[in-house]
């Protein structure tokens, strides 16, 4: 037996001893990073409001294993450096038990190695980049939702199933990593599954651009069959409103994978028949759970406290909290009912199955969450003063997520038409 191995075993035993002897704490503290300022605060603020409701509910039912849970928020809007220094402070000085970081993919890439250094459980609760677990492997980092690849692939599959005859497409995405990466995924899969489609324009207006008039004029002249935009927030609101005003939505089929988060702001102006998604099966009228009393109670309480219906980041934060609870409970059970050490909780995350407000999510061996994806089309229902979703399809996450150990671009190039025969459940909007 060589020295290194002996040392490892000794360390493992020491860890085990530490773990097995862990005392039950008075509280569990989570640090959560999210945008509370800047344009992306349209996502951070709803998630923060939801976390307060969810923690209140959780603690009223005894918290996790009898321990109440509290959250500390860090504003990602203050910049990457601020997030990293606050992250370090929360882990080392405040001694949080877990971190939920973050909304921005850029911040996720920065905090992942930091979480490894600090040996703290990090749940990536919202960021979308597929590269995290494809380019690196981590012990302490997990993602409790899907990533950009299944989100884009499900959107494309919905389009191919419902409008198979389209011949040309244009894209209008924000000019930053998400806008570029999401188009790369979508167009790679499109070339594989429908090779003859002409890409007539690839437009990447500046992030935060207030005016899309010129882009819209050009698209009106080009008349593509399909217009894709993965924009979000005020940018998406502007693009959709200005397109409606100029009649572009009547000439081309719009495909907007993040539109679920803007529907309430656009209100009655939203045209019908637009293909929309919400980064997972996230929808306040989820066809499988809208009758579920717990689901209904949450939606009603959220509406009463914020004045809005919840959007996808709310569902994402619910999944992260549910995963944390699931991991502790699994670790407590594996520890014969004794409070687990932090390494035991980290080990319990792998292979975990949990449910937030949508369907069950499963954490894979590469720590990526496998989550089903719901896409639908807009329609109006007089009961709501904004567009709702109809003809919803829920795609099984396992079939549309890049297999562990593979890189998305390479995997997408192996797709065949058989993926179009994937069994999907279809739901109508129930009035």
């Amino acid at each position: 037996m060589n020295g290194l191995l002996k040392l490892s075993i000794a360390m493992a035993l020491a860890l085990y001893a530490e773990a097995a002897a862990a005392d039950k704490p008075d509280t569990l503290t989570i640090g959560i990073t999210g945008f509370l300022s800047g344009p992306a605060s349209v996502f951070g603020e709803p998630a923060k409001a939801a976390s307060e409701i969810l923690l209140d509910d959780l603690n009223r039912e005894g918290g996790i294993g009898g321990v109440p849970v509290t959250a500390v928020w860090v504003d990602e809007g203050a910049g990457g450096e601020h997030v990293l220094s606050e992250y370090r402070r929360l882990v080392q000085d405040v001694g949080v038990d877990a971190m939920f970081a973050s909304i921005s993919s850029g911040n996720c890439k920065k905090v992942a190695p930091l979480a490894e250094d600090l040996q703290v459980l990090n749940i990536m609760w919202d960021c979308g980049t597929q590269k995290i677990f494809e380019e690196n492997s981590y012990r302490y980092v997990f993602r409790t939702q899907a990533n950009a690849t299944p989100e884009m692939l499900s959107t494309l599959l919905y389009l191919l199933k419902t409008k198979p005859e389209f011949e040309s497409i244009a894209v209008v995405n924000q000019d930053y990593a998400w806008g570029r990466d999401s188009w790369h995924i979508f167009s790679t899969a499109l070339k594989q599954l429908k090779p003859g489609v002409r890409v007539v324009a690839e437009l990447f207006p500046k992030f935060g651009a207030p005016d899309f008039s010129t882009e819209i004029s050009r698209l009106l002249a080009l008349r593509p069959d399909v217009i894709l935009s993965t924009a979000w927030g005020g940018d998406l609101d502007n693009f959709v409103r200005q397109s409606v005003q100029r009649g572009l939505t009547e000439r081309s089929t719009f495909v907007l994978p993040l539109m679920e988060s803007s529907l309430q702001r656009i209100g009655p102006d939203m045209p019908e028949g637009v293909i929309v998604g919400g980064r997972g099966d996230h929808y306040f009228l989820h066809p499988e759970f809208r009758q579920d009393p717990d689901f209904q109670a949450f939606i009603e309480r959220y509406k009463a406290e914020t004045g809005e219906y919840p959007i996808y980041p709310v569902f994402h934060i619910a999944q992260a909290l549910s995963a944390l609870k699931g991991a502790y409970e699994k670790a407590i059970a594996a520890n014969d009912g004794a409070w687990p050490g932090k390494e035991q909780v980290v080990e319990a995350m792998e292979g975990l199955e949990f449910r937030g407000l949508g369907r069950t999510v499963h954490i894979r061996e590469d720590h990526q969450g496998v989550e089903d994806q719901m896409i639908g089309v807009t329609r109006h229902d007089p009961a709501y003063d904004f567009a709702v979703m109809d003809h919803m399809m829920i795609f099984p996450g396992s079939a549309i997520t890049t297999p562990a150990g593979m890189e998305s671009t390479a995997w997408l190039k192996t797709l065949s038409d058989s993926i179009l025969d994937l069994p999907v459940q279809t739901y109508r909007h129930a009035e």
């Binding site: 509370l36 437009l203 009106l220 005020g234 100029r246």
Partner: protein, 301 residues
């Protein structure tokens, strides 16, 4: 490029230039008279937009005639510009006229940041949008492409009216001539008995109203959201620097140049869309560091 696309790109460029001009002209007017580069100008733009959107939404909530939204845009702009302009000139700028330029820049930048937080406090983080005025004017077809009448007719008309109005005011009225005199030679003007302090106040309020007017007129076409003011101050500074600081007509031509440059870029090389205004600025300043339209500064002994 076929002639139809040429026409479309020109229309888009003009509509864009109209809004940019309104903001840039206020900035250049203030600089011309007061020699202060007012960064808070971007905040006046954003607050003008927020106030106009809120007022238009209130009108539609109260079920008044939606046509009232047009005067509402002007009322919001005048109210915001006059109130903010007076307060900032009286309580902030007046104390720093004699100070170094760097300090003046920092003070107006600080005012800009404070006003950004004020926006967040008052209007929150959600984007605001009030599209009634655009909807009311409808669209006009140009070669089969629908354009908003609001953007390709109303905005350019207002921009031209502001330009002509300012020219007339500065050249034909006494107050205008006094402002021009202070711009040309402050010391001599004061020696002739002109109250420079009053001129500064009037100029600053006019400039602030123009910025707020830009924001108010933009609000029907775009969601007003956090960060909009920063975007606009950078762009209008590019216009003002390219034209030559203090040049009113120059600002109009440069806004048009940058507007057209940007819209042609979207048609021909969309990757350069964001860069175009700054490329134009760099090219111009390389060959004419004082700006396109500036007359060389007279050396005073």
């Amino acid at each position: 490029m076929d002639p139809i696309l040429l026409l479309l790109a020109t229309l888009d460029g003009i509509a864009y230039a109209a809004l940019v001009f309104l903001v840039a002209v206020g900035l250049t007017l203030i600089f011309g008279v007061m020699r202060i580069l007012n960064v808070a100008h971007g905040a006046f733009y954003a607050i003008g937009g927020y106030a106009a959107a809120s007022l238009v939404l209130a009108i539609s909530d109260a079920d008044f005639s939606p046509w009232l939204s047009f005067p509402a845009l002007l009322v919001a702009a005048a109210g915001v510009g006059a109130a903010l302009g007076l307060v900032i000139e009286r309580f902030l700028l007046r104390h720093i006229y004699a100070k170094e330029e760097v300090l003046q820049l920092l003070v107006t930048f600080a005012a800009f940041m404070i006003l950004e937080d004020v926006q967040r406090l008052v209007w929150g983080v959600q984007p605001y949008s009030a599209t009634d005025p655009v909807r009311l004017l409808g669209t006009v077809d140009v070669m089969g492409i629908p354009y908003n009448a609001y953007q390709i007719i109303l905005l350019p008309v207002i921009a031209v009216m502001v330009l002509l109005g300012l020219r007339w005011f500065l050249r034909r009225t006494l107050s205008g001539k006094v402002i021009t005199a202070v711009t040309e030679d402050r010391e001599t003007a004061i020696a002739m008995g002109i109250d420079a302090r009053k001129v500064f106040t009037v100029t600053f309020v006019i400039g602030a109203v123009l910025a707020a007017l830009g924001g108010a007129l933009a609000s029907p076409t775009t969601a007003i959201q956090l960060g909009l003011g920063a975007e606009m101050i950078v762009l209008s500074f590019a216009v003002v620097a390219t034209a030559g600081l203090g040049q009113v007509e120059g600002a109009a031509l440069t806004a048009l140049l940058i507007g057209l440059g940007r819209s042609f870029a979207v048609y021909l090389v969309p990757e350069l869309d964001v860069l175009i205004p700054y490329m134009i600025m760099v090219l111009v300043l390389l060959f004419r560091p004082q700006g396109l339209f500036a007359v060389a500064e007279k050396r005073r002994i």
